[in-house]
Symmetry: C2
Subunit: 334 residues, 2 copies
DNA sequence: ATCGCTTTTGCAAGCGTGTGCAAATGCTGC
DNA sequence: GCAGCATTTGCACACGCTTGCAAAAGCGAT
């Protein structure tokens, strides 16, 4: 154990022959310090290997620079892409991300937010799980900002970033019909997330408006295996669908693989498939999945720019982003 | 702006009618406090919504509870899977993960480690990039622990977790030969990571030992597109390979897709393919990729258990983990 | 009640930083 | 040289917590 401990501003001050305030001001942007002493301090700091202690700074300023990312299923393509974009943006804004994994228990979003409070995070971004109202209230009351991505609820205070899920669903429904399909199906998971349900309801409603019924199947989590399972259910029916909209790309990939390899169907000749998210795999030539692109970069930018803005707290802020349809080869025509 | 600020131990103490020390001890495990006062404190804390300030605690204890994860290409299947496992394990051990994205610049690993130092992280886990020696020295000197995953270098002090890459490469070489292949190829990226190069050299050496040459191609980053590009190079040769070992699964997926859809080749009949990592997509039925499974859970467990152990600092610690061969359908026979 | 012992409790001194305030310093124009 | 002003500097307090130390309290036995 070297146990040398970290070098403090005090030591730098002594080495540079100035007061401790001077070194503090040198590392505080916008503080008044002469160029001469500034240089002396910087030299001494460099020689000693000094780094401002952000714990202490956060304690004083009552602003830690930490932003909590609360997320489950980190290994999933869409989630990890969003994570990438968010950390990138946060670092651009001088913030640092604290990552909290809520895969395990159900109340884990609450535990996570508690952790965020303990470290006095300036803000939390929630990508999964619906935290308890009492906790979010606590966050907000303590001046912590909150961003909810794709999980709109009726709370007051947090920024909510959503997509035009229902509208997108309607667009794909007409695309299916235009491609000559008439036996529509929707493949969903049992997760029941607001955005997933919005896609389902939007799709069913749009179909109904065109005088068509929709076969809806839901299964398990929002993953590849569930897509296969739903295919099992849909493709063993008396009347097979000729177009299926999957709530996520992972479901779509699973569905396509099952349709092709297990039921020997051709996509898109015998069945058209569409997904949602535009994960990387959707563009792989084995799939060529027509899908809606989640605007991850835009989402991250919106979230972070709101977090760091001086003048947030604007009462009931909601951002609704647009999901572009990326046309590939899993739907006829185009 | 409510600006109510956080509630402090002082306020809890007053409400509970005890001293500030008492409430501090209540939240410090292993401190001496009578059950009666403890209860009074807990009640008061709950009523006021008190949470220990980990910034201040870290300042006092000289131990923040923060572990930095330094990682690039977060959106990648293997990386995100490892990230998931690591955060899980860290939380199990009462630590919290600070995520640092090093996608952009080259010296960004250094910047990241600086950030880790500023927040007085107890440890850093490096999944990407080779930090400068001066920085790692600084980390170690300040009692910060360091874990390097799959990027062995000769530094003294950090824990290094590696795989038996070369051995795995040799195993797959013999598997290819046993499947009747004789025109071997290796598909790599230009990243030149130690583990990637170990796979390449191991494969070439094993082939040479069996009297076979290997066509080696390298291209771009370690992703799907590179796999396609390498396929372009390998499959337009006068003599096509009949077996190719790809340094990662993403490369393998890209290679397979190009081989099948662009060159109309059949896998595994005309060409056998193997990968490395065992990402989720490898098991998708469009690929059925035979590959080596990275022991992500084991890796995470090793890393974290070493970090939290009392007695680390054991001079030159290296862990070499085994990668199991997962046999699927991209190689004949089996 | 007194003693000896263990447990609990409060005091106060830090941890490393930011910042208001007043003193000190530098600069400009006579 | 000096007055007038802007800028820089140091002091000292505060932030919220932990913890060594000594005083206080509990407790059982004499």
């Amino acid at each position: 154990m070297s146990q040398k401990l970290f070098v403090s501003a005090q030591e730098v001050a002594e080495k540079a022959g100035v007061s401790r305030s001077a070194v503090s001001r040198t590392f505080t942007s916008g503080a008044s310090v002469s160029p001469k002493t500034r240089q002396k301090v910087l030299d001494a700091a460099d020689a000693l290997g000094y780094h401002v202690n952000h714990l202490a700074r956060g304690l004083m300023r009552n602003e830690s620079g930490i932003v909590c990312l609360i997320v489950s299923e980190i290994g999933t393509p869409y989630r990890s892409a969003l994570l990438r974009a968010l950390t990138q943006q946060l670092q651009n804004s001088g913030k640092v991300a604290m990552l909290i994994n809520t895969d395990r228990s159900d109340g884990s979003a609450d535990l996570a937010l508690r952790q965020a409070i303990r470290y006095r995070a300036d803000a939390s971004i929630i990508l999964s799980g619906l935290p308890d109202k009492s906790i979010t209230d606590l966050c907000l009351k303590n001046g912590q900002r909150l961003v909810l991505i794709n999980r709109d609820d009726d709370r007051e205070g947090p920024l909510k970033i959503n997509l035009d899920d229902a509208d997108a669903a309607a667009r794909i429904a007409t695309a299916f019909v235009r491609a000559g399909c008439s036996k529509l199906a929707f493949a969903n998971s049992q997760a029941g997330t607001p955005s997933l349900m919005a896609r389902e309801h939007g799709f069913v409603a749009a179909a109904k408006a065109m005088g068509l019924d929709v076969m809806v199947e839901r299964f398990g989590h929002t993953g590849y295996e569930s897509g296969r399972a739903v295919a099992q259910q849909l493709l063993t029916r008396k009347e097979r669908p000729d177009a299926v909209f999957c709530a996520t790309d992972l479901l779509a990939c699973g569905f396509m693989d099952a349709a092709r390899h297990q039921f020997s169907m051709s996509v898109p000749d015998q069945i058209c498939v569409a997904g949602f998210d535009d994960i990387e795999q959707a563009s792989w030539s084995s799939y060529g999945l027509t899908t809606f692109a989640q605007p991850v970069d835009m989402t991250a930018r919106e979230a972070v720019s709101w977090l760091v803005s001086e003048t947030a707290e604007s009462e009931n802020h909601t951002v609704r982003l647009h999901a572009d349809l990326v046309w590939r080869t899993s739907i006829r025509g185009g």
